[in-house]
């Protein structure tokens, strides 16, 4: 069998092999190019959400109220002060990790799980929490409220 295939040219067989090889190569190039082309198209969500997030719209919150927003993979608390300015802190209670809330009646931050209290600078003032809440930087840009990690973090 070994000697046969080279001494007797068999065009159909040759062509099959060439087709197989050519077609396979083409298909394989296609299977490489296709993902690359899809990759090059930017996804709809362009922001990473790591450094800075849009925590809300400028007029969304009334003075002396707050909302929870997503900061990367952590929850954050955006508070609008009575004078209209904003502040933002981590919303994870330093005691056992519950999500804190803003108490407009006390103008302090409260954790419902075990009655821990923080002042508006994040300092733990009463109850079980052992450490203050992390404070973030807030900027208002146009009609968006941007929250980012404190400079020098």
């Amino acid at each position: 069998m070994a000697a046969d295939s080279s001494s007797q040219p068999q065009p159909p067989r040759r062509r099959i092999v060439e087709l197989l090889l050519g077609g396979g190569l083409l298909a394989s190039f296609g299977s490489f190019i296709y993902p690359v082309l899809r990759y090059l198209v930017p996804p709809p969500v362009a922001e990473l959400g790591g450094d800075q997030v849009v925590a809300g719209k400028a007029e969304e919150l009334k003075p002396n109220s707050a909302k929870i927003f997503r900061f990367g993979s952590r929850p954050g608390l955006l508070i609008r002060n009575t004078d209209g300015s904003y502040r933002a802190l981590s919303a994870t209670c330093t005691h056992l990790g519950c999500i804190v809330q803003y108490r407009s009646d006390l103008q302090e931050i409260w954790c419902a799980c075990h009655n821990g209290l923080y002042d508006l600078n994040g300092r733990n003032v009463s109850g079980p929490p052992p450490r203050p809440l992390e404070v973030y930087d807030v900027h208002v840009r146009g009609d968006e409220v941007l929250v980012s990690l404190k400079r020098g973090a």
């Binding site: 394989s28 993902p35 990759y39 969500v45 959400g49 790591g50 450094d51 973090a153």
Partner: protein
Amino acid sequence: MFASVRAWIDERFDWAALTAPLREKSVPAHKLSYWYFLGGITLFLFGIQVCTGILLLLYYRPSANEAFESVQYIVTRVQFGWLVRSIHSWAANLMIFTAFCHMFSVLFLGAYRKPREVTWITGMLLLFLAMGFGFSGYLLPWNTLAFFATKVGTEITGQVPVVGHSMMVFLRGGEDVTGATLTRFFGFHVALLPGLTTLLLLAHIALVQYFGMSAPPRVEARWKAFPNEAREMKFFPNFFLRELMAWYIALGVLGALAAILPWELGAKADPFAPAPAGIRPEWYFMFMFQTLKKIPAKLLSVDGEVVGILVFGLAGLVWLLLPFFEQAAGKRGRRMIFGAGIFALSYIVAMTIYGYLAK
């Protein structure tokens, strides 16, 4: 259609003369010829690294605040981002593995001997550059393991006598591993190292073409005694087709690894958190790491770690200049080098396995 394109080229370039070396290139055909694949595969994997690396560059951000998130973005939001990233990480390891295999096969098959000494030197330098690529690239996702592995690795560099501290500060971009280190490593990884590698690669490949493929000493001797047993295989298309098969197998392996064992993302690095248990370098540094761990604290009143570093430095230098040692040793040279190769290979394999088992 190909004929008219060919004609167009022929009217301008002496295509036949340009491609003659390639058409005439042949490879000694013997039982050990398959080892010749390793150089080509390493080059192929490097090419994959360049392509996937450029793709990653389109979305990656080299700052401490955004690096991790950008890799997370690539892996979760970009279409086929997971594929590009996992291929890049896996091919990096595969490339270093084949580079080591290539180096050892060249050693055992005696392809470093005269007149190919400079080829060996360029090859060794390329191996060091590859490990540099691995070390700098590992930090770029800015996850916990990478951060602490870099900390430990650069710390060890700082132990080199006299110049160690300056080297460490140079590598880290400061006294500690910070965002500055990340930016610096990024610069090394995408600009400095590729630039150097391209130059050395061109030299290495040109030298290989210039000297042709060597045959192992025994085969050479046999063919000298019995010239009619000498076999050559044309590079194009015969050897290359076989090599192409190896390349496609490598592609299949990479694809399978990316889909079934995707590269981990981990957790974002927190410089203030304590180091997690089980930090270790990537496997290609493991044998050195494990050696340094096992050296006693003091050896003849010199700090054990410094001794270890100096020994490895010396070993690297010796390895770089291996062909010259063989010439200096005369008749027994080849056997000595072969023995040294066996020792080095066994040591590396044993210490790597030990490093992983000893967790």
